[in-house]
């Protein structure tokens, strides 16, 4: 099902959608593009270079309550948290970020199904858009992704200039398009060709940087390489890369509150932080930037494959673009591609 939406009709479309969904869409905040819950749809920026954060936080919030507790005498009252009921539509998500959600699904569904996550997940509509402004840090094509293939989303947009070329992906998505068909026109052959051309052009803008097969093969024998010492020195072990990454999912669980009542929350944590694995008594199996940086890379390009059969990086390039120390994942992977001996 391929349709055409005039750009000026986008607002109307979102308004229709907002009857049943909370609309999450990219908006401009200062210089940044950020996904926000929007009411004023004129603010929505469908065509953008890179949102600073990925929209993963709408499924897996940076900080969420697990339950509340309240003491009365020696007894405690526990009130489990509830997830917002209103369905969400994440509009304008780039393919890389959409793929990332599929990656997260695996972890949160691993043996123990994380209800909080899936409650939101199943209640969320994904409307993706072809990313036609990749930048120097993007490398989705190197990790088996494309800037336009949004597998797993419900509806996909492509900006063709004056119009959006729209593909219904899932049944749910197709139904929504159907319900609003007064807004669309049927796509024609030339529209399709135009889109194909656009896609091809963008592909060229994101040249493949390394052979991911080779990289993942080499991972197994590179754990003890001296390479890690060298490349990790720069890292200042902040959480920027992990917090911006659409696939990073580590979290911490904490109690917050006062003497008598409070809540247990979970909030994002980053494997780059020193205290992440620091155990009571002071032992820390990953106590320097080397081991921590290595963990991050191995987690994404080795462990994740072993446990979930996929790498957990979508090549969005955020960790590269935003790393204050200039750590460059692509360079790291290129070194790994060359193999351990290359150092």
């Amino acid at each position: 099902m391929e349709l055409i939406l005039k750009k000026e009709k986008l607002k109307e479309f979102l308004e229709q959608l907002s009857k049943n969904y909370e609309i999450i869409a990219p908006v401009k905040e200062g210089e940044l593009i950020n996904f926000k819950s929007v009411k004023d749809f004129t603010k929505v920026v469908m065509t953008y270079q890179k949102s600073i954060k990925s929209p993963k936080e709408f499924l897996f919030p940076q900080c969420e309550e697990l339950y509340k507790y309240k003491f009365s005498g020696k007894d405690v009252e526990i009130k489990p948290a509830e997830v917002e009921k209103k369905p969400k539509a994440i509009v304008g998500i780039h393919p890389c970020d959409a793929v990332a959600i599929k990656i997260l699904d695996k972890l949160f569904g691993w043996d123990y199904k994380d209800e909080l996550y899936f409650e939101r997940r199943n209640n969320t509509l994904l409307i993706s858009i072809t990313c036609n402004t990749p930048d120097w840090s993007c490398f989705c094509t190197s990790v088996e992704g494309t800037p336009y293939d949004a597998d797993g989303t419900d509806i996909h947009f492509t900006d063709t200039g004056e119009t959006y070329y729209i593909e219904g992906k899932s049944e749910k998505g197709k139904q929504i398009l159907q319900d609003n068909n007064n807004l669309f026109t049927e796509a024609k052959k030339e529209d399709k060709d135009k889109v194909e051309k656009i896609k091809k052009e963008i592909m060229e803008q994101v040249p493949v940087k390394f052979d991911i097969k080779k990289v993942t093969e080499n991972m197994d024998c590179i754990f003890d390489s001296k390479l890690w010492d060298r490349i990790s020195v720069k890292c200042i072990h902040c959480g920027a890369c992990a917090y911006l990454c659409p696939t990073c999912h580590c979290f911490d669980i904490n109690d917050e509150g006062n003497y008598e009542e409070g809540k247990r929350i979970r909030c994002w944590d980053a494997c780059m932080f020193g205290h992440f694995t620091k155990m009571a008594g002071g032992h820390n199996p990953r106590e320097d930037e080397k081991t921590r940086y290595r963990q991050r890379i191995f987690h994404k390009f080795n462990y994740y494959i072993k446990n979930f059969d996929t790498i957990s990086c979508v090549g969005c390039g955020r960790c590269i673009a935003e790393c204050p120390a200039g750590m460059d994942l692509v360079k790291t992977l290129q070194l790994i591609e060359k193999g351990a001996e290359h150092e």
Partner: protein, 312 residues
């Protein structure tokens, strides 16, 4: 350029120098990244230009031996701070000072070229020339300086073993604290709104803390867990507490290298807070950080005659 490579090559040959801390070219257009040269061959990669933005001082303690380090005036001020606070040993440093006429904001430049592929670029006087695949373009350096640079009054490092570059004359500097003064004039409610909007956005990734050369605590107060000083929740309440205390901890110590500002992925204007603290410390205690190794930081001492107008 030749210069620094030659100097570095000579230095690294010395037995006592473990590494040279400098910059190399990054993959992105206009990007330079910290680089640690350990062999004469490494030295060839070293560069030094107006796009070298990172404050390298934080890396010194990564090395156990003596290191040589390239420092801009900002970095050197940070060194002063660290020496003042017993964090590094002067004997373990060989400081190559660089006179600085201001550093450029690579992100701004990248925005200006609007995604075109850059082959190369060069700096000539007050112009930067960018060579694309086809064609070239010239920009005014002035328009791309980092925020901290135009008003900077320290163009020569306050501490060094050898000094490179021509002496830089500055005249008619714009006022450093102009923005602070502007914000001060806002009514309380607007100030609060301004900052709440920023604080609300904070990710608590601590890039600002970790990059700061003067945030060297082994355990930052935000990591203090028993008791938890600042809730881990990322909400206005705890973000605000974090920001207030962070800025306060740098009062009288922040040397305005602007690294926190640059590091922050969420564009939170940390520098404005830092400058407010700078203003406060200077106004009340007549102290400017990054100048004198031998005086204790202003919040570790007092004078009996310190002002106390607001105290009842």
């Amino acid at each position: 350029m030749e210069d620094i490579i030659n100097i570095a090559r000579e230095l690294i040959k010395r037995d006592d120098i473990e590494a040279i801390i400098g910059y190399e070219k990054g993959r992105a257009p206009f990007q330079t990244v910290p680089f640690f040269a350990r062999t004469p061959e490494d030295c060839d990669k070293l560069i030094m230009n107006s796009l070298c933005v990172n404050n390298l001082v934080s890396y010194i303690n990564q090395f156990s031996g003596k290191v040589a380090i390239f420092v801009k005036p900002c970095d050197a001020k940070a060194l002063v701070g660290l020496l003042q606070e017993h964090q590094i040993e002067r004997e373990k440093l060989h400081i190559i000072g660089i006179n600085c006429q201001g550093a450029l904001n690579p992100k701004k430049l990248r925005n200006a070229i609007k995604g075109r592929m850059v082959k190369d670029w060069s700096i000539n006087g007050d112009k930067i020339k960018v060579y694309y695949e086809s064609g070239e373009e010239e920009f005014n350096i002035k328009d791309f300086l980092l925020d901290k640079c135009p008003a900077c009054d320290t163009r020569t490092p306050p501490i060094y073993d050898e000094l490179l570059g021509d002496e830089i004359k500055t005249a008619d500097l714009p006022e450093l604290l102009a923005r602070v003064k502007e914000l001060e004039k806002l009514p309380a409610a607007e100030k609060q709104q301004y900052w709440n909007e920023h604080f609300e956005r904070c990710l608590r990734c601590y890039a600002c803390v970790k990059i700061c050369p003067l945030c060297y605590c082994e355990r930052c107060f935000v990591e203090n867990a028993s008791p938890q000083w600042i809730d881990k929740s990322n909400n206005l309440k705890s973000n605000k507490a974090f920001h207030l205390i962070r800025a306060y901890h740098l009062a009288g110590r922040c040397i305005d290298c602007g690294e926190c500002d640059r590091a922050c992925p969420m564009d939170i204007p940390l520098r404005e807070l830092n400058l407010k603290m700078r203003k406060s410390v200077e106004e009340h205690f007549n102290y400017v950080p990054g100048k004198d190794i031998d005086v204790p930081p202003p919040l570790s001492t007092f004078k009996k005659e310190d002002p106390q107008d607001f105290i009842r």
